[in-house]
């Protein structure tokens, strides 16, 4: 799976309350959720990513609550992948569950700038920064997680499993 996109950059400890503020948690439709993505931090975010984007962030991305609505909002707002120095545990699992690729990539915040063009090879665990002519090594995802992402998320993955049983 190869992903292309322009970088939108964030810092450390980006929490789920800014990714999707609590007052929007009652929204069920993902396209409605998407309208409020990152509202707590950058009200212009959804305009910025109309053509799809890759988020590059620092440490502990997605900390805070267990709301799956946070990665859902990002995915449906057009975020193709999130690359970070580290992820909060529940956000990480939720992203894979809903089919939003997330890769841990040490040192990425100092090697990528806002607007840089990236090519992410998920299977190989590699990030190429086209704008700076750099290749960065990310933590490879285990096989069973790749299978979930290949199926487009946990729901499809389980549906397949149930069918094949």
């Amino acid at each position: 799976m190869t992903i292309y996109g322009k970088t939108i950059k964030f810092g450390d400890n980006i929490d789920t309350d800014v990714i999707l503020p609590g007052q929007y948690l009652l929204l069920i439709d993902p396209t409605e959720l998407a309208k409020h993505a990152m509202k707590g931090l950058d009200p212009t975010f959804t305009r910025k990513i109309q053509d799809g984007a890759i988020i590059v962030a620092g440490k502990n991305f997605g900390c805070g609550s267990s709301r799956e609505q946070a990665p859902l909002a990002l995915k449906h707002a057009g975020v193709k992948c999130v690359l970070a120095e580290s992820f909060a545990r529940i956000f990480y699992r939720n992203s894979i569950t809903i089919g939003l690729p997330v890769l841990r990539c040490f040192g990425i915040s100092s090697k990528v700038e806002e607007g840089d063009e990236l090519v992410v090879d998920l299977r190989a665990g590699e990030v190429e920064n086209k704008s700076k002519n750099l290749v960065l090594k990310a933590t490879q995802l285990p096989k069973f997680i790749m299978e979930i992402l290949d199926d487009g998320g946990l729901i499809e993955h389980l549906r397949r499993r149930i069918k094949s049983e």
Partner: protein
């Protein structure tokens, strides 16, 4: 093995597990609430499943936005209510029957030592206070649990926090955990477990232990846990007749790191906006003016918290510039507080006592903040926009600090109150 490894080994049918291994484990209890439940139910239906794997092992609690504040929240309640009925889930706590989910889970005997529990809520880690391995998961993963009764876990490394010393009066387990978060930082325990041990923990009551485990997620931890002792067993036995098997860490168990904390000289701690790990001793922040004060949440809305706050407020008035909100954590806590006269004290002081709910803590319902306002809160998060406007400020502190600050109108140290010495015994052996 340590307690976490033992529980994960038992639940995945293995003799032994070690950190980093990925195991598929059987779930003993699974919990959803009104904000994460509807999405879990939607995913459950999308998977195409008809019946949950075990309707006795599922607990559903309406607590985040109760009673419904809008047509939308009423609809979310209805979705969850219908699901409970359709799947014959007996452990369903509707509005007025339970309260804040993590408190209700413990009170109603759904948390038992040695169990593996998942909840679609990040503060599920609270249950470690009773010696269970409990952690938060997302809605769709919960749907997968509802279908299969199992889930994958990476066996975490564990940080052991050894706590010794006796608290000074009006210094509480909340001050301890804020201090620990300040040391470990918001990302210092990502994916790790945290085991609390030591004489201070051994002597701590259940309410306080729940505060410690509750906030481990604010350091990124997968869970907090305390090896059960007599206090734990007495509590659990008074709450359930179901059998359970307590587990403890071996003497030669391995840990990623050991942290020693002595509470003897600990002063009240305050977490400053907008990051939970920006923790300062109260002497560095006292005097900050507040507009609202909040006592409640799954962190500090228990009886012990209300007793302490009421004691400090007796015969006093909430400052004219402050709104004080008190939300007991459960119907049971509320009723007990009523019997003890605590509710009367709050009302006479000029507080508003709300029904048990998570509402104010997450800016979902009741007491939202306007731009530029400041709140001192006994809850667990002070992120941008957490309690309302993204331009509001939230300071986190103990119920004692919140109560005294509500009276003075600015962040104040409860230990400096003249009366502090007179009510020494209230906080003794804590």
């Amino acid at each position: 093995m340590n307690i976490i490894e033992k529980i994960l080994a038992r639940a995945s049918g293995r003799e032994e597990v070690s950190p980093g291994e990925i195991v598929e484990a059987s779930i003993d209890v699974a919990m959803i609430h009104d904000l994460t439940g509807p999405l879990a139910i939607k995913s459950f239906q999308k998977i195409g499943a008809k019946k949950v794997w075990n309707n006795q092992r599922i607990v559903i609690i309406l607590d985040h936005i109760v009673p419904a504040s809008s047509v939308k929240s009423a609809e979310s309640h209805k979705v969850v209510r219908n699901f409970a009925e359709e799947q014959k889930i007996d452990n369903f706590y509707d509005v007025g029957q339970g309260g804040v989910c993590h408190q209700v889970m413990a009170e109603k005997g759904h948390v038992r030592p040695g169990d593996l529990i998942v909840g679609a809520d990040s503060h599920t880690c609270t249950y470690g206070a009773l010696g269970a391995f409990a952690t938060g998961i997302g809605s769709t993963e919960m749907a997968a649990v509802f279908v299969t009764g199992t889930l994958w876990f990476k066996v975490p490394e564990v940080i052991k926090v050894n706590v010794t010393g006796r608290f000074q009066n009006f210094v509480t387990p909340k001050d301890l955990i804020l201090n620990i978060i300040g040391q470990i930082r918001a990302d210092g325990a990502i994916y790790d477990g945290i085991e609390f041990a030591g004489s201070t923990i051994q002597n701590m009551r259940i309410d306080g232990r729940m505060v410690l485990c509750n906030m481990t997620v604010e350091m990124g931890a997968k869970t907090g846990i305390i090896v059960p002792n007599e206090t734990t067993l007495n509590y659990v036995k008074s709450r359930t007749d179901k059998p359970f098997k307590p587990v403890k860490s071996d003497l030669d168990a391995t840990y990623k790191k050991n942290l020693e904390v002595d509470v003897t000289d600990l002063e009240p701690q305050v977490s400053c906006p907008h990051s939970v790990d920006d923790v300062k001793p109260i002497s560095e922040v006292d005097g900050v003016e507040v507009d609202q004060a909040f006592i409640g949440s799954c962190t500090n809305g228990r009886l012990e918290d209300l007793r302490l706050a009421a004691k400090l407020m007796e015969g006093r008035k909430v400052s004219k510039r402050v709104r004080l909100l008190v939300t007991p954590a459960s119907q049971e806590v509320y009723l007990e507080a009523l019997k003890e006269g605590l509710i009367k004290t709050f009302l006479e002081a000029g507080a508003i006592v709300c029904n048990p709910t998570c509402g104010p803590c997450l800016g979902g319902h009741l007491g939202l903040l306007a731009p530029g306002e400041t709140c001192i809160s006994s809850s667990n998060r002070n992120f941008v926009g957490r309690m309302g406007s993204p331009k509001a400020y939230v300071y986190l502190a103990s119920p004692a600090t919140v109560a005294v600050s509500a009276v003075t109108g600015k962040i104040s140290n409860p230990r400096l109150l003249k009366e502090a010495k007179k009510i020494d015994d209230l906080w003794k052996n804590h």
